[in-house]
């Protein structure tokens, strides 16, 4: 078990890491997800011992690492800028960590060839890094980092320079390999798909603070705040300003800039009352919003197509709802043109709600992981609680 205990890192007066608490279990694949500048790489460098925390402690199995030199931490790190040995061939780069540990020649050959084949670089073994593309170099760096045994593997954006196609292939290979690694892996990325794909748990980091730690399913279905909700997902959820009021004695959610009011019995007791009401926003996953070209029981909110994009297996439709904008994922068969009328379904069955940025309500998720979509229109009185 690796623990970060109240870790703070200042660079001059700049706060890079602001009181991070995180524990990583043995054999766990943990992905730190966040935008550029969130403090992800700094966190890795702190664990590797390349930089020291300003405050706080880093422990492995209860023992502090702070006085342990980097080379004695048994950490293998893959750097985003590769740091390959230019004079060595690809084979020589991959074999280096094994040679340094006096592994036998036949064993080195076997492990290098197996790693090279997993990372789709087996045809490049005789080349030097100077003769490789950025994506190829990155795969060599990844292979060199993973080829030897280590207590902790630290991977700093290891797939960022790969073409989309190869990235997917290497992602699958990395996931297959990670199952056999009897160690913990801490992987840093800005790509939520990469995080979801690989992680046992994801730690979402923003502005030096941990926002949420959870399984991919948890982070996706129950984001703790607006940042996580919009950082995870493609296209992201569209946040809509809203107010929670009672209309004719019924609790309703009024979406700003539109004339929509949705029954919102589910929010009773969740939105704090008081002299300063919270800033309320709601958002739905684009894949959870049903749309139709005609009014139906399920799709009864009229709106207008702003833009529709084809993605082959689906269309992404940007919709104008009064002054508000919402993106939905629609089946590929229906073709939408600019300014076409479109009807959509919104309600507490597909909306997440946030008060002052923090999540207060998530739509129910069935055991199968699919959002429950009750057979009712948004004007119906019945409710499905959380």
């Amino acid at each position: 078990m690796l623990e970060l205990d109240s870790v703070v890192k200042l660079f001059g007066t700049t706060v890079a890491i602001s009181g991070v608490e995180l524990s990583v279990r043995d054999h766990e694949y943990l992905v730190i997800l966040g935008p550029a500048g969130a403090g992800k790489s700094t966190t890795l460098r702190l664990i590797a011992g390349l930089t020291k925390p300003t405050r706080g402690d880093i422990r492995v199995d209860g023992r502090s690492l702070l006085s342990v030199a980097p080379e004695h931490r048994d950490v293998s790190m893959v750097f985003e800028n590769y740091a390959l040995y230019p004079q060595r061939t690809v084979f020589g780069n991959l074999s280096f960590p094994l040679e340094a540990r006096r592994v036998s020649r036949p064993e080195i050959k076997r492990r290098v060839e197996s790693m090279a084949s997993s990372l789709l670089i087996d045809s490049l073994l005789d080349r030097r890094p100077g003769a490789l593309s950025g994506g190829q170099r990155q795969r060599v760096a990844l292979g060199r980092g993973l080829i030897r045994d280590a207590t902790v593997y630290l991977l700093d954006e290891p797939l960022s320079h790969l073409d989309a196609r190869i990235r997917q292939d290497v992602r699958v290979q990395l996931k297959a390999m990670s199952v056999d690694l009897q160690s913990m892996v801490i992987h840093v990325t800005q790509d939520y798909r990469e995080a979801m794909s690989l992680a046992d748990r994801i730690a979402v980091l923003n502005q030096g603070r941990i926002q949420q730690v959870g399984t991919p399913d948890e982070v996706y279905a129950e984001p703790v705040n607006e940042f996580v909700a919009t950082f995870v997902g493609d296209p992201p959820m569209s946040l809509l300003d809203a107010t929670f009021v009672h209309e004719n004695g019924r609790p309703v959610l009024k979406v700003a800039g539109t004339n929509i009011s949705l029954p919102a019995d589910e929010l009773v007791g969740l939105v704090a009352n008081g002299p300063t009401p919270p800033v309320l926003r709601v958002a739905a996953r684009p894949t959870d919003v049903p749309v139709s070209a005609t009014e139906t029981k399920e799709c009864c909110i009229p709106a207008q197509v702003y833009v529709s994009e084809s993605h082959g297996y689906r269309n992404i439709v940007t919709i104008k709802l009064g002054d508000a904008t919402i993106r939905v994922a629609a089946p590929p068969k229906q073709i939408w043109r600019v300014n076409d009328p479109i009807w959509l379904g919104l309600g507490m069955y597909n909306l997440h709600a946030f008060a002052n940025g923090k999540a207060i309500y998530h739509p129910s998720v069935s055991a199968a992981g699919e959002t429950i979509r009750p057979q009712r229109s948004f004007t119906a009185a019945s409710t499905t609680g959380n």
């Binding site: 989309a164 297959a176 979801m196 794909s197 296209p235 996953r285 994009e309 993605h311 082959g312 600019v338």
Partner: protein
């Protein structure tokens, strides 16, 4: 605004043939993407349209009139690059007005045009700001809008958003698409990113090795790729492509690969009857077009689960049927486990066949395809 015609256009750099006889007709007001990997000739093609490169052979016509003897200035082509190079000390308004002032437009015309373009590009609230105060996304939009002010005959976009971060890119696509629709410009986008091309273009010209492989709508290149290159280049996760031979089993014609047997999809049966199918084919099926689990039913094959990637809105399963690696996208829920055996069936109406020698698509007789039926249902 104009039509753009390319007729057997060639570009040679010494002995290197960068563009090898491209012909296409871009309609007035159409948005066409030139899509392909690096070195496919897409950028050379765009530069020849702009007049930045001479053509080695062939002709380029705007509205039917040859432009190959005209210098770039006389072609009235606007180009937007990823590097937008705004004037940092000028306001957004003055940046937008700059090309019009250089063309000596009267002030009231400039003002009207700047406000019109700014409104469509959704930057009208930024007109008084200095460009040094803008976010990178806003600066990108100002750069694009500036190129539009002058009312170009043709608008060329060179990888305008390839290196923008993922979030911003989604918004940029929406704005660019909306701009194009509202202004009705003829636009040509150069990109290596199939997702940008699919999202933005009315038609996509897929290029490889200096040749045009296919020109079609996003749905056409996705559902009916003309060859295995296009099939593989379009779509994410990528299409499953595997070799099969045409064989007989139980009195039926089937697709066979080692111990795996697949029923011949109905739409190809007329070709079987006519005896026009080659003996060796490559089968193409997108990961979205396989049914997994209990629903697989008749004709299913057993596959061992190697990796499951939960992506929230879908799960990508990489499996092996015998020695055949195969990817399938399944809805969230009922997640299979590693090493579990899952039943997989091809959705026959979506199965594509390619001639293994020529790599060209084998066309099912018309009316047989899922898209054709869907299109017919829409009319």
């Amino acid at each position: 605004m104009a039509t753009v015609g390319l007729e057997d256009v060639w570009k040679r750099y010494g002995k290197v043939e960068a563009v090898k006889g491209i012909s296409m007709e871009i309609l007035d007001g159409e948005f066409v993407a030139l899509l392909g990997p690096s070195g496919c000739g897409k950028t050379s093609t765009m530069r020849m349209i702009a007049g930045l490169e001479e053509i080695s052979a062939g002709d380029i016509r705007f509205d039917g009139k040859s432009v190959i003897d005209r210098p770039p200035r006389a072609r009235n082509v606007a180009m937007a690059f990823e590097n937008y190079a705004l004037y940092p000390t000028l306001s957004v308004y003055e940046n937008l007005a700059f090309p019009a002032r250089a063309a000596h437009w009267p002030n009231d015309r400039i003002d009207k045009r700047v406000r019109e373009v700014a409104s469509i590009a959704a930057i009208d609230k930024l007109l008084d700001r200095r460009t040094s105060e803008l976010s990178s996304g806003q600066a990108q939009m100002v750069g694009l809008a500036r190129a539009l002010v002058r009312e170009p005959t043709v608008f060329l976009l060179d990888e305008p958003i390839s290196h923008v971060d993922a979030r911003l890119r989604i918004d940029m696509r929406t704005y660019i698409k909306r701009l194009q629709v509202e202004l009705g410009y003829t636009m040509v986008l150069v990109t290596h990113d199939q997702e940008d091309a699919m999202a933005l273009a009315d038609r996509i010209a897929v290029m490889a090795d200096g040749r045009l492989r296919q020109l079609g709508t996003p749905a056409e290149v996705y559902d009916h790729p003309e060859d295995t290159f296009v099939a593989n280049f379009i779509g994410s996760p990528p299409i499953n492509l595997f070799d099969c031979e045409i064989a007989q089993a139980g009195g039926k014609t089937v697709l066979r690969r080692d111990s795996l047997t697949f029923d011949m999809p109905d739409q190809f049966l007329p070709l079987v009857a006519a005896g026009t199918l080659p003996g060796n084919v490559t089968v193409g099926v997108r990961p979205f077009h396989l049914t997994a689990g209990a629903g697989a039913g008749h004709g299913a094959i057993a596959a061992r689960v190697v990796v499951v990637e939960p992506l929230g809105d879908m799960e990508i399963v990489t499996a092996e049927a015998g020695n055949l690696p195969i990817q399938v996208v399944i809805p969230p829920g009922n997640r299979p486990k590693r090493d579990e055996t899952m039943q997989l069936a091809l959705e026959p109406e979506y199965v594509l066949l390619f001639d293994r020698e020529s790599k060209q698509a084998i066309h099912a007789p018309s009316g047989g395809s899922a898209t054709a039926r869907a299109a017919a249902a829409l009319v």
